[in-house]
Amino acid sequence: MKRTVTSSPEETKKLAVKIAQDLKPGDVLALEGELGSGKTQFVQGLAKGLGVSENGYVRSPSFTLLNEYRGRMPLYHFDFYRLHEPLELDDLGLEEYFDGKGVTAIEWADKFPGALPKRTMHIKFEIVDEMHRTIFLPFVRGG
């Protein structure tokens, strides 16, 4: 477990850009932390690192539940924020994404730990103060 403190949303994004370099198809990232802790910012960084250059922004999928982006491999951006029952996950067809050709990043993934594959990398976010966030990574990059 590696603990990193970022001092701005931009720094959170930059950390994710670096992490994206090591990602491969089938990787699943569970992003866990309260509202405003930097989860969406982190995914914006992942998208940048994966070479997503669409005509649009990487936004919160709280309302849409899934946003899909095309980079050097696809990025599937889920959000479990509004979901309450594991049953409701059925409609999302998660397994197809997990075993697909891209990287899956799930905000509020800790609401349904049973729905995640064993290989899932859990990344935790904590708010320190207005600008600072503590981010716990399950690995040391390059280590």
Binding site: P9, E10, E34, L35, G36, T40, Q41, N55, G56, Y57, R59, S60, S62, F63, T64, L65, L66, N67, E68, Y81, R82, L83, H84, E85, L87, E88, D90, D91, L92, I127, D129, E130
Partner: protein, 344 residues
């Protein structure tokens, strides 16, 4: 031309009949009651409810229009953007009906519907105008040059304004949907009690001229509310007045952000009017402030009736009729698309 419109992209199942640009019926089966218990839009519940509602609702819309199903001359259905499972319910119904009756069908983008809702009440809408579309899933500014001619000027980079209302209401334990709750509670609070600043963008915009000053961001304001509340809680200062002041100040910041951008966009594009669209148009503070700001700038301000601002099928039927008249047709391969922007 008698056109039946069908809309099921998110919370609401809706059906409406439009003829020659006039509204004959407009029905909505809202799912707010179901979602209120869960604190948000739940997809499985949403598609199940759409399935239960769609047939009786379409029948009722036709009957209320004073016609029969056989009189319908065309079908318009929302195909994007939205929840795939929800969209598919409407699309399958519309395709089934088109197949059975042999009448033409056309797929409509939900956002284009919102941009044209105002035309159901006004046939003298000035062009070009700026449309401010604000809902749970969208916060965007468009330049509308004519029917079918749109340019996206700016959009949110993170959360939609409606989503920010919902999340702030949820983190303060105020219930769902967050917009109406915050609108009501704000009346009892001081909008200047706390100051939430508008974020400054470091990167250029992906839409419009590339200048970031027509983009939106609500994630920072949401976090600022959370931190303010956490600090107050740790000091034992949270009471009813504090919460009212907090949400009034939050609403003030969001409304100022939206109206400032809309007026700036209108000035820069030499638009004659600002049109408000989307569910957040129900917010009374937003309506009042936008009218004031437009009046100060010599702009006409057009705000459609509430039932045409929220998700509805009338706007889909309206746009559908225009396209069907132009000869546009969709075939049976018509499908749902989750993300689809217009005016790029």
């Amino acid at each position: 031309m008698l056109v039946l419109g069908i809309e099921s992209s998110c919370d609401e199942t809706a059906a409406a009949v439009v003829s020659d640009g006039r509204l004959l019926s407009n029905l909505v089966a809202s799912q707010d009651e179901v979602h209120a218990r869960y604190g948000g839009v739940v997809p499985e519940l949403a598609s199940r409810r759409h399935m239960e509602s769609i047939i009786p609702l379409a029948r009722a819309a036709v009957s209320e229009a004073g016609i029969g199903m056989a009189d319908i001359e065309g079908i318009a259905v929302t195909t994007a953007p939205g929840l795939l499972g929800s969209l598919l319910v409407g699309i399958q119904f519309a395709k089934g009906m088109a197949f059975a009756t042999g009448k033409p069908i056309v797929g409509i983008n939900h956002l284009e519907g919102h941009l044209n809702a105002v035309r159901l009440e006004r046939n003298d809408v000035p062009y070009p105008h700026v449309a401010l579309l604000v809902s749970g899933g969208h916060t965007s500014l468009y330049l509308v040059r004519d029917f079918g001619d749109y340019k996206l000027l700016g959009a949110t980079r993170d959360d939609a304004a409606g989503e920010a209302f919902d999340k702030v209401a949820k983190l303060l334990g105020l219930g769902y949907p967050g917009g109406p709750v915050i609108d009501r509670l704000s009346e009892k609070g001081d909008p200047n009690a706390f100051r939430f600043t508008t974020p400054k963008f470091e990167h250029s915009a992906k839409f419009g001229s590339g200048n970031p000053h027509l983009d939106f961001s609500f994630s920072g304001i949401k976090t600022a509310v959370l931190l303010n509340h956490r600090d107050a809680a740790s000091k034992g200062r949270v009471n009813a007045q504090y919460v009212a002041d907090l949400v009034a100040s939050f609403q003030e910041a969001v409304v100022k952000f939206l109206t400032d951008r809309a007026v700036t966009a209108a000035k820069e594009t030499a638009a004659k009017a600002v049109v408000l669209a989307g569910g957040v148009a129900a917010n009374r503070h937003l309506r009042k402030r936008l009218e004031e700001r437009c009046s100060d700038s010599g702009l006409e301000c057009l705000i459609p009736s509430f039932h045409l601002c929220t998700d509805n099928a009338a706007m889909i039927a309206y746009v559908g009729e225009r396209y069907l008249r132009q000869g546009k047709r969709s075939d049976m391969a018509l499908n749902a698309t989750a993300n689809e922007e217009i005016g790029l």
